[in-house]
Structure formats: structure tokens, C-alpha cells
Symmetry: C2
Subunit: 386 residues, 2 copies
């Protein structure tokens, strides 16, 4: 529980890295995909099913858990691990992205953000310090700083102010984190003493701002660094360009986390540019909408052509859904609105993402990542054969 | 697949029976609870999870599956077993109960029932013969006859007419079943050649009608017999009285199935009156509503008192939900509307029903059923301690 944060690079292939991140509750093999469990639950499956899928780490959201059930309640349950029964690593996002999405229901000043709860409309405030406290109580293995995440597109001036405020907040958030870690805030119960904290690089799609953000954030000093403010609507090639540009300036000896991305091809493209960690709601959200990922692209299971299709979703897939059920049955469950549709689809999509990361790791180990990436992107970009 | 229907009584204790029913796809240890998978899916869990819970047999509904995806489509997938991936026994209810519930949208005559589909309003007809054909195509191990199930309360005259029509329909349904079994209906594909057919006793809460119904239905001759038309709103003591009265007139050498019941105490009461098979939507439906069964009665998980309660739902329960999660977490999932709330609650409630049946079977084997029943009913009827 008090293991120090660590990151060991086991192999590299071009700019792609195969590593092992060590946090308080265990190891995470990288590149890694982190399933999103916003409210301490991954939508569509149980904690047990998430474990069966072989996920090394789960994401949760400080903003949502602060509102419900409350971070103090989670602390009293032994932190998120005691509360959920998930024994492996957990990363908590600060909720900056969520709060800034409450356009019209929040005001930002230098101190922090005042907003209306999306649940009961009550006035709430979040500051870099209070977000550090919330995450300390949640007891995640990795806490993200509270940042200002501008929408896209944004003018250079607006992106610059948000980036500079994020830097000032990073300093304040780190100071609070260090005071918490040093036991100087006795009224905040910290179920995970070995918690690490990641900084977040902002600057939208402006390279000069990304450069300033990297310099300033690394100057504050965190266990590792994330690239925020991408995958918010900008074109893919712009995202890849900014990811590549930013990643290569970040310290090589610690993991790089691309927040909120993305489609399967985005993961491969970002790994080739030196990214180690990912999270995204797409596999779980699309599963519930009947959008299923395969190596040959995505399938919409409600399509009438699958009504009599007795083949598995993906012949090559080893997940419980594909090993047990036909496309015809999965379509029937979706069309009749059965809960098991969401469960089986979520199991498949998360398996696909986690399995893709496993194949990426193997490809880097064997020094064949470039070839793997080309074949993957070629197969994935084709129109699904049926 | 072509095993003949069989039933062996392994032990008796009073009127309670411990048996083994053999159908085409395997054995069912009785007394047994059959989880309800109306549309070829048990609401809230996957086929794999149903197997993990140790269920011997699943229920499905001919009416619902006839409408969607269609019995011909299911036949082409290899019947319900091929369609769902569930390899153990399946019983299909005829849908009589569902059709007669469509008050105002159906007309009954001697030939059968004409009704409007609840899906698209299209006119459809079901007859004793077509329902036998539908179930032949579905390939269930056990097909129920098409019966007329009156609402409760009902006058003696109305109950009598429905019972007598059910008898005439039983004769027609059996004739069709025998023709199907003898291969005389070549255009109906039968994925499960060893399918059995159960008759249904009607007569509402009138003992004289139940007597006539037993005599007539046994006269037609089926592999086994069910008691229908109960658990439809009548008081518990009336139900128990009719169950006891009817069960003791049914042949001892074949299973007795009480349709649609019930609460956990109903199961114990009915076993003590000689019932072997049960089905009910309560464990799955109540799970989704946050009503959880324990040996000390039912819990409403949304109750505020569980917000900080770190104990398992039921200390004595060995289900995955109770072994992994606290009441506090289960309440959080329910209050936030997470899908995993429905999954975890369904797993628990079905485990409770299946485990209760296992304890009933053991008690009969050991000749201590009367004592078990008294303790169970005593514990269950008390107000839950918290």
C-alpha cells in the first residue's frame, strides 16, 4: 500500500515503449488501457467481470464521487478499494473536465470553480487544494491535478490563459498533495498512503502553448504527466501531431498518459508517438448502443443482416461473448432491450480494447510494432466485410 | 438429445419429495426453481452468469419468442439451445397466461385466441396446435400446453368454462404434440426430438373444478402436470389450500409444477404439499427494483440506513455479490442507476432462490424437512433486523 511510484521501461521500438508502472495497489503493464468507472463502477459490468477481463487498473472520477456518495463516505469505507471491492490500481480524474463542461452553471476565478451540482442544483466549489483532498480521501493510486480544460476550438488567447491558470493550479495542487503526503493535514483521512499525483499538460492545439505547459508542469514536478485537452473534437491528424510533439518533450523515464482517447486506431497511433496510458468511454458507451469493435472495424449489431447470422461477432475473439453467443442472439438481445445485451457487448468491447493493448505490448517486445501498427490500421480502416 | 422423459424419486419426507427429472438436455434436481428467461434471456444477467449460479433449467416464453425473433428463426439457429448458447434443459411456457392478460386486445373462441401483438398491433392467432408447433420449433425440453387462464377473482361459472375449454385444448394440443413426435408434421423442424409436454390443471380456487381438471388432464395423459391459475392475486392460505388439494390427486410418479409462484416462503409451503418445480419473476424483477432476499426477510437496498453499512447484504450468503461488495456499495450503485446494480442484485436474488432449493433438497434427503421448513418460515417472516 505504501509502495513508491515506479516505472520501468522493459523494451522500446521506435518511440513506442513497453513498460511496467508500479503504484500502491500493484503493477500496470504498459501501454495500458484503463476502463472508465466514473462513479466507482464500469457501466455495464461488475467489478468481478472487470477483473475477469484482466484489466490492471480502473478509472474513477473525483467530481462525481464527491457529489455521490461523497468522498468522506468513501474514505470511511476504506477508500475506493474498500468501497468497491476492486483490489487493483485505481486512477482518479480530478473532475476538471466535467466541471468545465457545465457551461452556464459554473464560474471560474483564480481561486477555483464555483458550480451547481448536476444532481440537486446546490452550489459547490472546487479548488486545486480541495480536489487534492477529495482524491486523498478516495484513496486512488493516482490522483490527477485540477486543471482548466478549454473547449475546442479555442483562440490562442483563451488557450493560453487556461494553460497558465492550469500551471498555477498545478503548483497549488502539488503543494497540497505534498502536505497531505507528509501527514500535515491530519483531518483528511488518506486510505492509500502511497498515492501518486500526475500533472496535466494543456495548451489546446497550439504547439507553443504545449511547450510552455510542459516546461512549467515538469518544473513543478509530478510522478508522471498527462496530455489533456485533446480528443475533444479536433481532427485526428491534429491530435496525432500535438500528441507526438508534446510526448517527445515529456521526461522519458516516467509514463505519459493521453487523457480521453480514443478509437482503437487512436491508441495505436498514440503508442507509436510514445504514449503509455489511455482511458476512454467509447468501448463501454458504444457497447450499450450496440456498436461493437472488431479487428475489421465496428459492427452495428442492430443491423437486420445479423438476424440470422449464427457466427460469432468476431471469429478471432476469445472473449466470453464471442465464445458463447452468435450475432443473431446478440441482435435479439439488443432489439428486445434485454440488460444482458449491454453486459455482453461491454464484455466484448472492453476485451477488444484490453486485448489490443496486449497485442501492442507483445509487438513492442518483439520489435515488430511498426509492422503491427500498419496491419492493424489497415485492417481497422477497411469497411467491415459484413 | 433424444433421452426419454424420466423422473426418479430419491427420497420423501412427509409429502415433500426429493427427485431427479431427466429431460433431453440433462437432469434437473428437484425440488427445483427455474429462473425465468421470457425472451430467451434472464433479465439482468447473461447465460454464462446463469450457468455460474448453478441453475439446472431455464424458462422461456413461446408467446414472446413467437413474436420476436420468431420461432422459425430460433429453429434455424438450432432451437433455443443453439440460439442462446444455454446447453442445459429449457422449459417453454405456452404464453396462454400472457395472451389472456391482453384484456381488450384479444378475442377467444373455441378454435383459439386472436390477439393484437403488443409490439406492432398486428393481428395474430394462437391455437393449441400452433402453440405446440411453435414450441417444437423452439426446441425446448418441456413444452406447456396452451391453456385458458382466468383472472382472479372469477365466478364458478367462468372458472368452469375456462377449465373445460383448457381440457378440450389439452386434448388437441396433445394430439398435435404426438403427431409432431411421430414425425407426421414434416414442415415443422424440431431441434429437440426428445421434447416432453406438460398438461396444466385449471379451476381457479374451486376444489370441485380442480378435481375435474385433474381427472380430465390426467385422462389425456402427459409426461407431467402443472398447477396453473394460482399466484394471481388470491390470498396465500387459499393458494396453499388449493395446491395441497390438487397436488395429492396428481400422479405420484411424475413431477408436479406450480406455475408462477412465488415468494421464498411460498416455495417452502408448496414443497411441503408435494410440489417439485417452480418458476417466478420475483427474484429477478425485485432485484432490479432494489428488493433483496435474505434468510431474515427482504431488504430494500435504497434505504438510507445502508449508506454507511460496510457489511455484506447477507453474512451467510456465498454469492459473488455478498462475497465482494458491501451494502454501502450496492446502495450507491442503485442510487446512481448503474447497470451493475441490476446485475449484482439479480445474481444475489437468484442465488438465494437456488440456494434455498438446495437446502430444501438436503433437508428432504436427511429427513428433517419439517424442522427446516419451520425454521425457514420463522426466520423469513420476522421483520428484517436492519
Amino acid at each position: 500500500m505504501s509502495a513508491r511510484f515506479g516505472f520501468e521501461i522493459l523494451a522500446t521500438d521506435g518511440r513506442a515503449r513497453r513498460g511496467r508502472m508500479t503504484v500502491a495497489h500493484g503493477d500496470v503493464q504498459t501501454p495500458a488501457f484503463m476502463p472508465v468507472g466514473t462513479r466507482a463502477a464500469v457501466k455495464g459490468i461488475t467489478i468481478g467481470q472487470l477483473g475477469d477481463l484482466g484489466a490492471d487498473i480502473m478509472l474513477a472520477n473525483a467530481y462525481h464521487l464527491h457529489l455521490r456518495p461523497g468522498d468522506q463516505a468513501v474514505a470511511e469505507a476504506g477508500g475506493l478499494h474498500g468501497f468497491t471491492g476492486w483490489t487493483k490500481p485505481i486512477l482518479t480524474d480530478s473532475g476538471g473536465f466535467q466541471v468545465f463542461s457545465l457551461a452556464g452553471r459554473r464560474t471560474v476565478n483564480e481561486e477555483g470553480v464555483i458550480f451547481q451540482s448536476h444532481l440537486d442544483g446546490s452550489a459547490r466549489a472546487l479548488t486545486p487544494e480541495s480536489v487534492a483532498d477529495i482524491q486523498a480521501r478516495l484513496g486512488s493510486d493516482i490522483a490527477m491535478i485540477f486543471d482548466e480544460c478549454p473547449a475546442w476550438p479555442v483562440e490562442h488567447g483563451g488557450a493560453s490563459s487556461a494553460m497558465e491558470r492550469t500551471l498555477r493550479w498545478a503548483r497549488r495542487g502539488r503543494d497540497r498533495f505534498e502536505a497531505l503526503s507528509a501527514g500535515q493535514v491530519p483531518d483528511v483521512f488518506r486510505p492509500t498512503p502511497g498515492q501518486a499525483q500526475f500533472g496535466i499538460i494543456q495548451g489546446s492545439t497550439f504547439k507553443d502553448l504545449r511547450d510552455q505547459s510542459v516546461k512549467g508542469t515538469v518544473g513543478v514536478g509530478f510522478e508522471a504527466y498527462a496530455i489533456g485537452g485533446l480528443s475533444v473534437g479536433e481532427p485526428s491528424d491534429v491530435m496525432y501531431d500535438i500528441v507526438g510533439h508534446t510526448a517527445e518533450q515529456l521526461p522519458a523515464e516516467t509514463p505519459r498518459y493521453l487523457m480521453g482517447a480514443g478509437m482503437p486506431n487512436d491508441l495505436v497511433e498514440a503508442v507509436s508517438r510514445g504514449i503509455d496510458l489511455f482511458d476512454c468511454v467509447l468501448p463501454t458507451r458504444n457497447a450499450r448502443n450496440g456498436q461493437l469493435f472488431t479487428r475489421q472495424g465496428a459492427i452495428s449489431i442492430k443491423n437486420a443482416r445479423y438476424a440470422g447470422d449464427l457466427r460469432p461477432l468476431d471469429e478471432a475473439c476469445q472473449c466470453p461473448t464471442c465464445r458463447t453467443h452468435s450475432r443473431a442472439y446478440l441482435r435479439h438481445l439488443f432489439m428486445t432491450g434485454e440488460m444482458s445485451s449491454g453486459i455482453l457487448n461491454t464484455v466484448h468491447n472492453l476485451h477488444f480494447y484490453l486485448d489490443t493493448m496486449g497485442r501492442i505490448r507483445k509487438a513492442i517486445e518483439f520489435g515488430i510494432f511498426e509492422n503491427f501498427a500498419r496491419e492493424f490500421l489497415d485492417g481497422y480502416s477497411r469497411r467491415h466485410p459484413d
